[in-house]
């Protein structure tokens, strides 16, 4: 029972932390940093590091983003689900060992995959609703911008994680004699 309360508490705590940082990015930072989808990056990072497949965090965070998102309901959940699926496959078949570079690679693949599915859904939606769809140099530049700043954030998260990991690593004490 206590373990369940602890677990729920930790899930809610991490959701709160992710939302707070996301709000800080969206509301307080100047363009182009407002384009960072921190919640998604957090979900990816959390899934890579704590490989227990805790789906409560993606569900809660995804739901909140869906409620405050201008795209139709589901356009955030679907890319998150498929990205996590691909990530899980990569984690078990390609990069089974977690290192600084493998996490970076996972991050890059995830952001690209998420954006591709998301944009694909938007294009489909626009086509079926007879909305005008603008695919121009400006949109492409914006897309690259978004991926670029997301990668910077992943890199920072990665560095912070490895710094903390090394700092709190239990030192082995070897007794001789």
């Amino acid at each position: 029972m206590i373990n369940k309360i602890k677990y729920t508490g930790s899930v809610l705590f991490w959701c709160f932390v992710a939302l707070s940082i996301h709000y800080a990015f969206v509301y307080f930072l100047p363009y182009p940093f407002t384009k960072v989808n921190f919640i998604f990056l957090f979900i990816i990072f959390y899934s890579i590091i704590f490989e227990e497949n805790n789906f409560f965090i993606p569900l809660i965070l995804g739901f909140v983003v869906e409620l405050f998102s201008s795209v139709p309901f589901g356009f955030v959940f679907i890319p998150i689900f498929f990205t996590l699926l691909v990530l899980n496959w990569l984690r078990h078949n390609i990069f089974t060992h977690l290192s600084f570079y493998s996490i970076l690679f996972f991050g890059i693949v995830s952001v690209l995959f998420y954006k591709l599915i998301y944009n694909f859904l938007i294009v489909l939606f626009n086509i079926f609703n007879n909305y005008t769809f603008h695919l121009n140099y400006n949109n492409a530049l914006d897309f690259i911008y978004e991926i670029g700043v997301s990668l910077v954030v992943i890199l920072l998260m990665n560095i912070i994680y490895f710094l903390l990991k090394n700092k709190f690593k239990k030192k082995k004490i070897v007794y001789y004699g």
Binding site: F25, V26, F55, S69, F77, L84, N88, T132, N138, N139
Partner: protein, 269 residues
């Protein structure tokens, strides 16, 4: 065994997402959505308020030199304005009287709805604001949104029962039919997606565009009346090999510091 367990978890995860999406469109989780919004909206609104108020401090940190230059310019302008103040006193009386007669809402023959901004769109990448009015208040997609006495800041892009999303003019999906207030009333399309500035495209090359010319809506577009101020020309790009010239605009109001907006409801030309 372990892998099977994980696959099962993924299956359940997918199923929950599918059910959530299905229940959303059927309307079965409306109560849950309203509850989450009820809890988060006051917080979002407060954060937005703080972010708008702290924008000047952030500007000061990021562009200290520009901020100080602006401050000195304003100081100079303030002295000049003091001289004009006495002359303006008489004009003000006349103006007040005229204002009473020519109130914005009465000047145009359509319904308006004034409301507060609740926050920004959480899904990164788009320049959107959220207002706590929706279809219940007769808001519909495409309705223009203005501030002050007719400065266009965007259009409604998504409406739900009790909230709506405004796509700001600087969003990269925003397109508005406009014209420049010059001699030939040059027509063009204002696009966003260039950070804080806007770009007016498809201006005929032979027409003379000057810096500081005002750009207003042309009224060609459905739902958007003619004459709403969009911005001012700050630079012109007219190259010999291109059929059209372009103008870079500065929005008529700071789009990151908006608190109250007016939606022009179901404008019909």
């Amino acid at each position: 065994m372990l892998r099977n367990n994980k696959n099962k978890k993924f299956l359940y995860f997918g199923l929950v997402i599918f059910l959530l999406i299905f229940f959303h469109y059927v309307g079965l989780i409306g109560w849950l959505e309203r509850t989450v919004r009820f809890i988060t909206l006051p917080l979002t609104s407060k954060i937005y308020e703080v972010s708008v108020n702290s924008q000047d401090n952030i500007d000061l940190i990021l562009n200290k030199e520009e901020f100080l230059n602006n401050y000195n310019n304003l100081k100079q302008e303030n002295e000049n304005l003091k001289l004009l103040k006495s002359k303006n006193e008489n004009l003000k009386r006349d103006n007040d009287e005229l204002k009473n007669q020519l109130d914005f809402k009465n000047a145009y023959d359509y319904k308006t709805l004034t409301t507060e901004i609740l926050g920004k769109n959480l899904n990164g990448g788009e320049q959107m604001l959220i207002i706590k009015k929706g279809t219940l208040d007769n808001i519909s997609i495409g309705d223009p949104v203005v501030v002050a006495n007719g400065i266009l800041i965007g259009q409604i892009s998504k409406v739900e029962k009790d909230i709506s999303y405004i796509r700001l003019t600087n969003d990269n999906e925003s397109r508005i039919a406009t014209m420049i207030l010059n001699e030939s009333e040059s027509a063009g399309v204002v696009e966003g997606g260039y950070g804080i500035s806007l770009r007016m495209k498809y201006i005929p090359r032979n027409e003379v565009v000057m810096i500081n010319d005002d750009v207003v809506t042309s009224g060609v577009e459905e739902n958007v009346p003619r004459g709403l101020l969009v911005g001012q020309v700050v630079a012109i790009e007219n190259e010999a090999y291109k059929p059209f010239q372009q103008a870079i605009l500065s929005p008529a109001t700071d789009l990151s510091k908006i608190n109250i907006v007016t939606v022009l409801l179901n404008y019909d030309k």
